[in-house]
C-alpha cells in the first residue's frame, strides 16, 4: 500500500477533478482562483509524470497453498 510520502495517483486525480469542477461551475473570483489554478497545473504535471513510469513489478507470493486437512 502507499505511504504518506508516496504520490497517491487516486487522491491527486480527485483533487484535480474538484478544481476543474469549481472552475467550470462559472463564477470565478480571480484572486482566490489563481492559487487553485497553479495547484491544478502542478497536479496535471505530476500525474502525467507518474504515468510515464513504465515498469510493473511482479513478485510471487512465497506462501504455499497446498492441501492439509
Amino acid at each position: 500500500m502507499t505511504t504518506a510520502k508516496q504520490f497517491n495517483f487516486e487522491k491527486s486525480y480527485q483533487e484535480l477533478e474538484k478544481i476543474v469542477e469549481q472552475f467550470e461551475s462559472g463564477d470565478i473570483d480571480l484572486d482566490q482562483s489563481l492559487k487553485e489554478f497553479e495547484r491544478g497545473l502542478e497536479l496535471a504535471e505530476k500525474l502525467k509524470a507518474k504515468l510515464s513510469e513504465v515498469e510493473n513489478k511482479v513478485i510471487e507470493i512465497k506462501q504455499k497453498f497446498e492441501n492439509n486437512e
Partner: protein, 363 residues
C-alpha cells in the same frame, strides 16, 4: 507371540494406513448417500466389483452429491475407532462426467441465487487507479502471461503480487480459497484477479464449487473473475465484484489505459487555463467599463460646474452693474420699493464705476 487388544490393533492399522499411504484419490459411483445429524455424511463408492465406505463432515464438501454420480474422491484411508471399519475420510470431491456436473451446477446456482450471493448490491466498486494488484492463477496457464502483457500495455508503476495455484483438478479449490484468504489477511492489495482459460464443464468445476464461490463473495478486497469460456458463466464469476470475459479482459477492467487518462488530464488542464483566461478577460472588461463610466460621470460634473459658474458670474452684482444697472440706497439701505421714497429724500446711487448723491424731486 504378543497378543494385542482389539483397540490396539484398530489404532495400529488405522495409523499404518494413514501414514503409510497418505491421501489417495479414488474414482467411483456414489451409492447409499446419507447425512446423519445434519453433519455426518456417509456414502459408498463403488465400481463393478467392489465398494468402499466414504465419510465426510459437511464443512468439507458441498451438498450437491447424489447417488449415481461418478466422482473422484481425495481422502485418507482410516479405520473407525468404534467399528474398526475401513473407510476413506474425504478431503476433496470432484465430479466426473457432464451429467453430474450439470445437475450439481443447477442445484448450487439456484441455492446461492436465493441467498443473494449474486446480487448487485453486494458487489464492490473497483478502485479507479489501483497501485497493487493480486493475481491468482497457474503460472503454467496462458492466462498468466495474457494478464501481465495487457497490464503492461495499459499502466505502469504497478505492484503485482502473484499467487500460483491450480485452476482445475483435485485441490484447486482449496488452494484458491486459501490464496483469497491470504490476500485478505496478510498481503492486502487494491484489487484481486482470479483467472484461467476456457475449458469443459469438468475443467471449470472448481469455479463452480460452493467453497470457492463463497470465498469470492466474502472477500473484503474486490475480486475480478475472468474465465475464458464458450458456454455458461461460472458461479465464481457471478459472485465476483466484476466479471471478465477473458484473462486479457480482466486486465482491462482493473486499470485504465494510460493514453486515455493522459488525454483526460490534458483536457482538464486546457479547461482550467481557458477558465482563468476568460476570468482575466472579464476582469479587464469590467475594469475598462468602470473607467468609462467614471469618465462620463466626471465630465458631467465638470459641465455642471461650468454651467453654475457661468450663472453665478452672470448674476453677480458687479457684472449686473456693468450691464448698466445701478443700485439706489437711502440711508445706506438698498431701496427696492418706490413707496419707501418721498419727495425731498436724499438718495445715493451706485454705478458700475463710482457713485453720486441726489435729491428726489418728483416720482
Amino acid at each position: 507371540m504378543k497378543v494385542y487388544s482389539v483397540s490396539e490393533v484398530v489404532n495400529y492399522i488405522s495409523s499404518y494406513l494413514e501414514q503409510g499411504l497418505g491421501s489417495i484419490a479414488v474414482q467411483g459411483e456414489i451409492t447409499g448417500y446419507n447425512v446423519n445429524q445434519n453433519r455426518l455424511i456417509f456414502f459408498e463408492l463403488k465400481d463393478d466389483n467392489s465398494r468402499m465406505t466414504c465419510f465426510a463432515l459437511t464443512h468439507q464438501i458441498t451438498d450437491v452429491l447424489e447417488d449415481g454420480m461418478e466422482v473422484k474422491v481425495l481422502g485418507l484411508p482410516k479405520l473407525f475407532k468404534k467399528s474398526g471399519k475401513f473407510h476413506i475420510h474425504v478431503q476433496e470431491v470432484e465430479l466426473v462426467g457432464e451429467g453430474a456436473l450439470q445437475k450439481a451446477f443447477a442445484k448450487l446456482k439456484d441455492k446461492l441465487s436465493k441467498e443473494g450471493v449474486f446480487d448487485e448490491q453486494y458487489k464492490q466498486a473497483l478502485p479507479r487507479f489501483p497501485e497493487s494488484i493480486g493475481l491468482i492463477t497457474s503460472r503454467d496457464a496462458a492466462a498468466f502471461n495474457d494478464v501481465l502483457i495487457r497490464l503492461n500495455e495499459r499502466w505502469g508503476g504497478l505492484n503485482i503480487k502473484f499467487a500460483h495455484t491450480g485452476v482445475q483438478g483435485l485441490g484447486a479449490v482449496s488452494q484458491i480459497v486459501k490464496a483469497i484468504e491470504y490476500y485478505n489477511t496478510h498481503e492486502p492489495v487494491d484489487v484481486l484477479i482470479i483467472t484461467r482459460g476456457g475449458g469443459s464443464l469438468e475443467d471449470l468445476q472448481a469455479f463452480n464449487d460452493e467453497r470457492l464461490v463463497r470465498a469470492v463473495f466474502a472477500s473484503k478486497i474486490p475480486i475480478v473473475v475472468g474465465v475464458g469460456h464458450e458456454r455458461d458463466i461460472t458461479l465464481a464469476e457471478l459472485a465476483s465484484d466484476m466479471r471478465a470475459s477473458t484473462p486479457t479482459n480482466a486486465a482491462e477492467l482493473v486499470v485504465p489505459h494510460q493514453r486515455e487518462i493522459i488525454r483526460q488530464i490534458e483536457d482538464i488542464r486546457v479547461s482550467i487555463v481557458d477558465s482563468i483566461e476568460s476570468a482575466i478577460d472579464n476582469k479587464q472588461q469590467l475594469a475598462s467599463r468602470l473607467v468609462d463610466r467614471v469618465s462620463v460621470w466626471l465630465s458631467r460634473i465638470q459641465e455642471n460646474l461650468a454651467h453654475h459658474t457661468k450663472l453665478l458670474h452672470t448674476l453677480s452684482p458687479q457684472v449686473t452693474l456693468e450691464r448698466g444697472y445701478s443700485i439706489t440706497l437711502k440711508d445706506d439701505k438698498v431701496v427696492k420699493d418706490i413707496r419707501l421714497i418721498k419727495v425731498g429724500d436724499q438718495i445715493k446711487t451706485k454705478l458700475s464705476a463710482g457713485d453720486f448723491s441726489s435729491e428726489v424731486t418728483n416720482n
